[in-house]
């Protein structure tokens, strides 16, 4: 069924099993292996590891094929729909292959990291609750479940990138939606003292419902697409004549007027990406998704979930640009650029180490959408890949920091406990004092560089890549490419993105300084260490990712770049171009221009320097605070942020994320709750129940009439008639008597009645 001019290598036959390897791990863990946590972890790692090896084998094979562009499809007819069939199948093209380099590999590293993070191999603590984080030095009680879920998550993403049609894509898309819900709410039993702080359970629900809004709109787009083209297969939809037809035929929308189908469908499908990739205005779920275990955050932010949204937009890009630079692309560019800047401003004022990263993810995804919106197809793909590596690195690094802080907290606290709790059997055990201390708050950290060197080095490399540190890091090359594409005629987007890049460098420097430099501000930071055995599992993936966070960018060095360009063949650009040609997407290799290059140098270095200068003195001289002090006097949480005074009220607004949660709560959630209450009243008190009561009364009245008839007429009639009516009254009870003769009577009477009706009725 494929139309590539080259012979298809046999290794491609393995493509359809790639998503099913982690799925097999999921099934095995759920059904059999769940009692044994080590086995479960081994299965998950083995499943995704195999996918990784096979995926790289497939991907590297494609690199060897010159001019590879047309997808290699493997599918079978699956569901009949009218006169056509929906296919169950997978396809490989350069885009999918490039993703195959990243997704299973990053998943694999995250899985390995999870072994350490979940404490697999440690003893189980007797007083850990199921569904709550384990005490340091103990294994999570539900670790097997965790590995099953993340294996399923990997299935979702690998299946999504290989999907041959929109139905397949949707199936894996929804698998991921489910997994994100399960994993964000993984610590479902966790409660906080502060009732305003969102719990993991609520965060999971929030993520699920928010992305659902986008999914619903996207589904509408897919329905329209199917109605217009009678197919959901990418190969059919992206045929030039189909796209041409979609771009030229229009639909009359109220208020807007005639709109090409391609524009309408493109925007609707892009709404799905907005939800999944947490773009404005559906970005609210992603920061709260930090409530999940840290490897999950890394999965969601790097390898899976949010990448899926960008991937969808890249996949359906031919549809978006069927009307070149039409409203669909403008919309995408606007949402992307706006989100990039908007999220970066929020990140500046966050103190939770993971939340800073969360907003930075939203901002970087905005970058990718903005790039797509201005037609920079290759640059968006490139940034998606490099970002995945360094963002996974940063998240795993932050997880390592948090674990180190918890260990330090434990060590620093010594035997201090809040009280004694008694179990059912009468055993007593101490309640550790973990509630008042937030190991994720950067204000509690400081000086971790000396105490956790491996984590610190790798984190700093990731941070530099994120801020686009020139020449060496991957982030520089991908960001620079986006900026130079934007400079070519999209000035507003260019300025917005450059500002966002400046802020990115600034908050990254802030984060690094507050976490790793200066003096320790709490006992926990003072005693933090990475010498426990679990850190072996955790730091090795960090180092592997650090290599990619640097070297990953070198495949995309533009040929025109001064000095280095001569050494580079820009293999990435060349490779994706094959696909772009097959899809008839116009990709231009721009002439070198020094303005965007200088801009990215200035914003990256300037932002980093500025961040360093502002936060260098943060908390210096405040001394060491006892960690359990919470918000009390002398706590590092009382140290004012250096930006708080110059920014004034704006700082408060940023810190509260522009009050979006509050606004949504007031505008959407409260009214819905009120409506529900009102409907409940309608149902139970005002309308339905009275209606039911009324019907009941009516029947009582009728039965009273019946009773009257019974006593006055039936009793007066002959006994035979009475018997017949009685027989009718208890019809069902009477007919199933258990007596065969009665059964036969019913059957024969029916036949006779039918025959009689036939004879008597007029023909």
């Amino acid at each position: 069924m494929h139309e590539t001019s080259v012979a298809v290598p046999a290794i491609f036959n393995l493509v359809p099993i790639l998503p099913f390897l982690p799925l097999a791990a999921f099934v095995l863990i759920v059904l059999w292996a769940n009692r044994d946590k080590k086995l479960s972890a081994g299965l998950a790692i083995g499943g995704v590891g195999l996918s990784w090896v096979l995926g790289w084998a497939v991907a590297f094979t494609t690199f060897g094929i010159e001019g590879f562009g047309e997808p290699v499809r493997m599918f079978r007819d699956w569901l009949p729909t009218g006169r056509t069939w929906q296919a169950f199948g997978f396809a490989v093209d350069p885009l999918a292959a490039a993703m195959l380099i990243m997704v299973p590999f990053v998943c694999f590293l995250i899985f390995v990291y999870s072994v350490g993070y979940m404490g697999v191999g440690k003893p189980e603590s007797d007083h850990d609750e199921r569904g709550a984080p384990a005490e340091p030095g103990h294994v999570d009680r539900l670790a097997s479940r965790f590995f099953a879920y993340i294996a399923l998550f990997a299935t979702g993403m690998i299946g999504l990138i290989l999907a041959d049609n929109l139905i397949m894509l949707l199936i894996f898309w929804e698998i991921m939606g489910l997994c994100s819900y399960l994993l964000i709410g993984f610590w479902f039993a966790r409660k906080y003292d502060d009732p305003k702080q969102i719990t993991p359970k609520e965060a999971g629900l929030k993520a699920f419902l928010t992305t659902r809004i986008g999914d619903t709109v996207m589904l509408a787009g897919i329905f329209l697409l199917y109605a217009q083209t009678q197919s959901l297969s990418f190969a059919d939809i992206f045929k030039p004549e189909t796209l041409e037809r979609l771009a030229t035929t229009t639909v009359n929308l109220p208020l807007i007027g005639a709109t090409p189908w391609a524009t309408l469908i493109g925007i609707l499908i892009f709404c799905g990406a907005i939800g999944k990739s947490a773009q404005f205005p559906l970005h609210v779920w992603l920061p709260d998704a930090m409530e999940g275990p840290t490897p999950v955050s890394a999965l969601i932010h790097a390898a899976t979930m949010v990448s899926a949204g960008v991937y969808l937009a890249i996949r359906t890009f031919p549809l978006m640009q069927a009307v070149p630079h039409g409203p669909a692309m403008q919309f995408m560019a606007f949402i992307g650029a706006f989100t990039a800047l908007f999220a970066a401003t929020i990140a500046v004022a966050q103190n939770d180490i993971k939340r800073v990263l969360a907003y930075s993810t939203i901002s970087q995804l905005g970058y990718m959408f903005a790039a797509l919106g201005i037609g920079a197809y290759v640059a968006a793909t490139f940034h998606l890949l490099t970002h995945a590596f360094f963002k996974a690195l940063l998240f795993l690094g932050s997880g390592s920091v948090i674990h180190g802080m918890e260990h330090g907290h434990h060590a620093g606290m010594g035997q201090q406990v809040l009280g004694i709790r008694y179990s059912d059997t009468g055993d007593q055990y101490p309640i550790p004092n973990t509630h008042a201390f937030d190991p994720q708050d950067m204000r509690n950290m400081g000086g971790l560089f000396r105490r956790m060197p491996r984590t610190a080095w790798t984190f700093i490399i990731g941070g530099l890549a994120l801020s686009g540190f020139p020449i060496v890091t991957a982030g520089f090359w991908s960001k620079d490419e986006i900026l130079s594409d934007a400079f070519n005629g999209h000035t507003v987007v260019f300025i917005t993105l450059a500002l966002a890049a400046l802020l990115t460098a600034f908050y990254t420097a802030r984060q690094i300084v507050m976490t790793f430099f200066g003096a320790p501000r709490t006992a926990a930071a003072e005693h933090a260490s990475e010498h426990d055995s679990i850190f072996a599992w955790m730091t090795v993936p960090l180092m592997a990712l650090a290599v990619f966070a640097v070297a990953g960018g070198w495949v995309g060095i533009p040929r025109e770049f001064p000095v280095l360009g001569a050494l580079s063949t820009n293999p990435f650009h060349h490779y994706i171009e094959g696909l772009a040609e097959a899809l008839e997407i116009h990709v231009e290799e721009l002439p070198f221009n020094s303005v965007p290059l200088l801009t990215s140098l200035v914003v990256a270095l300037g932002g980093l320097t500025l961040g360093w200068l502002v936060y260098r003195k943060f908390g210096v001289g405040a001394g060491l605070a006892p960690a359990h002090e919470g918000d009390r006097e002398g706590s590092p949480l009382q140290i004012p942020d250096p930006l708080a005074r110059p920014l004034g009220g704006l700082y408060t607004v940023l810190r509260n994320k522009y009050y979006f949660d509050e606004i949504y709560h007031a505008v959407f959630i409260r009214p819905v709750q009120r409506l529900a209450t009102w409907l409940y009243r309608v149902d139970d008190l005002w309308v339905i129940d009275p209606l039911v009561d009324g019907v009941g009364k009516l029947w009582r009245g009728i039965s009273e009439v019946g009773q009257w008839l019974d006593t006055h007429i039936v009793d007066g009639a002959v006994n035979g008639l009475a018997a017949v009516i009685g027989w009718c009254g208890g019809f069902v009870r009477v007919i199933q008597t258990g007596k065969a003769q009665n059964y036969l009577l019913v059957g024969l009477v029916t036949v006779s009645v039918l025959l009689g009706a036939f004879l008597l009725l007029p023909k």
């Binding site: 699956w78 009949p80 036969l744 029916t750 025959l755």
Partner: protein
């Protein structure tokens, strides 16, 4: 009749030989001391016989052939023969642990099951009223014996007697209908009757039509008895409850499917000219059947009776497909829906009865409340029964959904809105009592001291096959849809 005809009769011949072999082996090994181990092999001998019979279907594939003047080897017959062979094979697997300790005469049971398969093969392939009658009688009489097989169990005997009395009368009525057709046309060959109807003068009071409608009504009594359509259903709950559970599984699936197969062949081939009359009649029967079945099932407390009424209701849904037949449709011909439904329903219902058998074998309990907390006693059984119940309720991704989808789709295509609406309401009612069992299994705690339930290996095999196919037919229904559509299109419409 020539020798090549014999290759089309291979399944029947193999089944006959296998049944005889099992009878004889049983007899040989019965009196021998120490042959108990060998007798345990008998069900597997029967399974091998079924396997060979399935292979014997290969020469009959693809193409419509008249065999020995009274039989057809057409895709329609092949479909139902395959269904019967697969169904009986799974029933045998469930019977192995069930019969252990209930009766010493186990060998005969498997021989009778082979014989009953042979009867089904004859009935679904017959193209002559005489052979149809003989095939159905063969099927009925063997079934009576199977229902009453547990001689020392009063309920089993009572069930057999009721079934026999009802069956005998129903077949007499059916025979009356057949005699009317013969009297009107002078032939018992289906093709011949059809030709006579087609060439007869149409119009009010025309002789043939005048005899045709009563014949339809009378035949419906016979077919409706097999398919347990209201009002010919009343034997079913009593018989299903009293019969050995594997036999119940057989009656509610393969036997019911045979009733539908014969009904479709006779009505479609012979009475095509009178489609207007029988369609109206079937719509009415369908509505009454599903409504009454579901409403009565709501109040059942015994799981076997509940499944009996559910199986009556399911017959009502299946009948929609026959009533909404529309042979020129591309996707929904109505009849392909019937075939898909019957095939999916076979695995679903046999699977459900297999779970009932497992629970009954281990604990002897058949009340719904005995299923409380099944999930803690045997998570596998509870999970599987859940799958079967949602398939019965017609919830995706199961085969039951596909069946309902195609049957309802045909009704929508024919614009039978009232029928569709009633069927939809019925589906909701049905979901209630299916999910009630689920509620007991998962959300009601088990009684104190309830022990885990072990499941014998053959039964595990049956559960595996049925559960996998139930899900597979929902997830990848393509091959079945193609097969069913193909099987219907070649139904000999001469």
């Amino acid at each position: 009749m020539n020798l090549t005809d014999l290759t089309y009769l291979l399944p029947e011949l193999i089944l006959l030989l296998a049944a005889t072999a099992v009878f004889l082996l049983d007899l040989l090994w019965l009196k021998r001391p120490g042959a108990e181990g060998k007798r345990a092999l008998l069900p597997y001998v029967a399974l091998v016989g079924l396997g060979l019979a399935a292979l014997g279907l290969i020469p009959s594939l693809g193409g419509v052939r008249q065999v020995a003047t009274m039989l057809a080897a057409d895709p329609f017959a092949v479909f139902f023969k395959a269904l019967a062979i697969i169904g009986v094979a799974v029933v045998i697997l469930t019977a192995i642990p069930y019969l252990r300790g209930r009766t010493p005469y186990r060998g005969e049971f498997y021989a009778l099951l082979l014989a009953v398969t042979l009867a089904v093969c004859l009935a679904v392939g017959a193209t002559n009223l005489v052979l149809i009658y003989l095939g159905m009688e063969f099927l009925s009489i063997t079934s009576y014996v199977l229902v009453g097989f547990l001689r020392h169990d009063c309920k089993s005997g009572e069930a057999a007697l009721k079934y026999f009395l009802y069956g005998a009368t129903a077949s007499a009525v059916m025979l009356y209908g057949m005699s009317l057709l013969y009297g009107a046309t002078g032939t018992t060959d289906l093709g011949g009757i059809a030709a006579a109807f087609a060439s007869a003068p149409q119009g009010a009071g025309a002789g043939l039509a005048w005899l045709g409608t009563p014949a339809i009504i009378l035949l419906l009594a016979g077919f409706g008895f097999k398919a347990s359509l209201v009002p010919f259903h009343q034997w079913a709950p009593d018989t299903y409850e009293g019969a050995p559970t594997p036999v119940t599984a057989f009656l509610s699936t393969v036997s019911k499917a045979t009733g539908f197969a014969v009904l479709i062949r006779v009505f479609m081939v012979v009475l095509a000219a009178m489609q207007y009359q029988w369609t109206a009649l079937l719509i009415a029967v369908s509505i009454v059947t599903m409504t009454l079945g579901n409403l009565t099932a709501l109040r059942q407390t015994n799981i076997k009776r509940l499944l009996a009424y559910s199986s009556i209701a399911q017959a009502g849904y299946i009948l929609i497909g026959v009533a909404a037949v529309w042979m020129s449709g591309a996707t929904f011909t109505g009849l392909n829906g019937v075939l898909i439904y019957l095939f999916a329903y076979l695995f679903t219902n046999v699977g459900a009865f297999a779970v009932v058998t497992a629970v009954e074998s281990a604990t002897g309990a058949t009340e719904v409340k005995d299923y409380a907390g099944l999930v803690t006693r045997s998570p596998w059984l509870a999970g599987l029964l859940f799958v079967f119940l949602i398939s019965l309720a017609g919830i995706p991704p199961t085969g039951g959904f596909m069946g309902k989808f195609f049957v309802f789709g045909a009704a929508v295509q024919q614009r039978l809105w009232v029928l569709v609406a009633i069927a939809a309401v019925n589906s909701v009612i049905a979901a209630f009592y299916y999910l009630n069992v689920v509620r007991y299994m998962f959300f009601t705690p088990a009684e104190e001291g309830a022990e885990p339930i072990g499941v014998a290996w053959p039964l595990r095999g049956a559960l595996l096959v049925t559960a996998v196919l139930t899900l597979l037919l929902g997830l990848a229904p393509g091959p079945l849809i193609t097969w069913a559509t193909h099987s219907v299109q070649l139904l000999a419409l001469r």
